[in-house]
Symmetry: C2
Subunit: 396 residues, 2 copies
């Protein structure tokens, strides 16, 4: 068996939304299709891949380096002979041939897109959903059949006031989410606290008396703050007992994270901008995070794919962190399968933004904060009409 | 004044050489030309840029993101009004608009190429060599008129034996270098020690009796070793009193570097694969390096350019490191100007490889381990015939 062809294209996910660091007015995503010579139900098995929002399409790297390496490899170099399937680990090594160590950005996205498509094909060839394949291969436990998701929104955009923010958050609750997330850091501290308090008031109205509204709200600074600003926010946020306080400072500033941890007792979340297991090791070693309460958000689609994500989980084990502390960034089906198959703690969800890449199978609405997996083979893109239609449009 | 046009192209620097991590059989470099409307001697001022070897051309990122941002900016957004010149800092901010924090690879190269061309144009517009402009703007001291360089070679390539290695090193000494560097880590420890001992014997023959040959030899593992291997090499290298032991482990493994520093008393060098000031801060905070003897090799052309390099120097100051501890990777004229203008400790040189990007002005051969700067305005590409001819060929 062999890869017959790899197709690649770019799709816009431009929108008016802004976080504390960037706007998404020119945001793009790379998509790929890995066409194999394996025939199922009369058609060749095709694996699809894309990457999460925030880091732009990677056509140049795909065309100049990564696709040629894969296409020039001999078919047997890519094979899992025992299983008569593609071998994602061998493929990863071919992709990363003659790449220097360090400097983990951009190429980590290009490799992540291809890795997703390869795993989709591998699970389709085994005729099972990816999460079951992952549980069988990498996890002694049974896979989870449903996964915790939270609604990530609360972006800034031109003209959006607090009322619109509160309505947006209320909508997520009505859609079945139990935890909602909003952006902070593009306004002043006092303005942000007013936004947060308005949302908490709505949460208090929605949930039963005695259920702390802070436990249903996460806030995300997208790496904007210096230490003093991060500490000033921490002082105001501490009594609110929030679900988490995300990415206060620069993602590589482990010292800031550690200082902040000494001043804030409630959970942090960070890691979406760490794209290698080496960076994750540094976060765990130096960042002062607490394995009993904090969350790690590394995103396989931005960070060299599932092959590298498994290395990250090995790092977690070395530092006595459970995979259950991981809730990946990205809001897509691929990370949902990792969560269900590898015992992660949950997954991000972006109701209504970054479409059609954000979101899950059409037939599995969120219910009581959980999303069910489906029986579709592979990642199940075929169970999400707008997404599979996009792949078909670009690749047929 | 304004930028009229930015041209971009890709040049192969493929060769048979190998280090412990990669071969250079498909290595490429991006080149750019920033054409301004400033006329000097009857012609428009054009700034040229390229990047160092090892990280491949960045056409995709340049065309998709960085060039459009610069071209779409209003001319006044790029101006240093006080000096009636381009402002490299404003240009850098335009380039990095809507780029998320973290993930410093690839885009750091694309920005580095453009930053080099901008500084070349800025110094040409001021009609002075870049090193003088840098000393005036950023350094209270007078610039150095000559800079320490060492000969970086000793690559592995197919069929190359120890005799050829020794001849190569001898050639560098005869060309005027006092310090030579060879690769290690692609052979076994015992094979590498034989290679090293053969070179040391030649160095002992060349230099005066009583002059320790180890002080003229650096070795470079290119990030290949795990901690145990790095320690095993350290034990063998320690009594040789080498000039430095470079990049033993993964460039982001600060813990390995720190453990190694506890076991090896002689100088280390590292940093060529750290592409942001945040990564440099982590190295200095966690890496166990010693400011009185170790060397930092960050490469402005791979790491967001001179604008980011100045931030790295601020980090050094915070950690009480002198700029004199910096000897950049890259072996090119641009880093030579930084060394002379900002008081760095020296610069890499690649005699005979990575041509025509490696090397310095034609009229300034190395003498007693030093290279003189020239009076050509800008970086002085015009003083290196093969390089300026390449730029002219691609951009006229």
């Amino acid at each position: 068996m062999r890869i017959l062809q790899i197709k690649e294209n770019v799709v816009s996910i431009a929108s008016e939304i802004q976080n504390a660091y960037i706007d998404f007015s020119n945001m793009t995503v790379s998509i790929v299709a890995v066409v194999t010579d394996v025939i199922k139900e009369g058609k060749p098995v095709v694996g699809y891949g894309f990457h999460s929002n925030g880091r732009y399409a990677q056509s140049g790297l795909l065309r100049d380096r990564f696709l040629p390496r894969l296409i020039e490899a001999k078919p047997e170099q890519l094979l899992d002979e025992q299983r008569d399937n593609l071998d994602p680990f061998k493929i990863w090594n071919i992709l990363m041939t003659n790449e220097k160590p360090g400097g983990h950005g951009e190429r980590s996205v290009a490799v992540g897109v291809l890795d997703m498509a390869v795993w989709d094909a591998v699970a389709k060839i085994e005729e099972k959903p990816l999460y079951r394949l992952l549980a069988e291969r990498f996890n002694q436990e049974q896979p989870e059949e449903e996964v915790f998701v939270y609604a990530a929104g609360g972006y800034y955009y031109p003209g959006k006031g607090t009322d619109a923010l509160v309505r947006e958050m209320r909508g997520y609750l009505e859609d079945g989410y139990n935890v909602v997330k909003m952006k902070i850091g593009a306004a002043t501290l006092s303005e942000d606290m007013k936004r947060i308090e308005a949302v908490l008031k709505e949460l208090a109205n929605y949930f039963a008396a005695g259920d702390s509204p802070g436990g249903h709200l996460a806030v995300d600074a997208n790496g904007r703050f210096d230490l003093n600003t991060a500490l000033a926010y921490a002082r105001e946020l501490q009594p609110l007992n929030l679900f988490w306080y995300e990415e206060a400072g620069d993602p590589l500033d482990y010292h800031l994270q550690s200082e902040l941890a000494a001043a804030y007792d409630n959970p942090f979340a960070t890691g979406e901008n760490l794209f290698s297991h080496q960076d994750v090791a540094n976060l765990l070693r130096y960042g002062g995070l607490r394995p009993e309460q904090d969350y790690l958000q590394m995103d396989p689609a931005l960070a060299y794919g599932l092959v590298e994500y498994l290395r990250m989980l090995e790092i977690l084990e070395q530092f006595n962190w459970s995979p259950g502390r991981c809730i990946p960034h990205g809001g897509h089906q691929f990370a949902l399968h990792l969560a269900a198959g590898l015992g992660l703690g949950g997954n991000e969800s972006y109701p209504g933004v970054f479409q059609p890449f954000g979101g899950f199978a059409d037939a599995t609405p969120v219910h009581d904060g959980m999303i069910r997996l489906t029986d579709y083979p592979g990642v199940g893109f075929e169970a999400k009409a707008d997404l599979i239609n996009l792949f078909h449009k670009h690749f047929q």
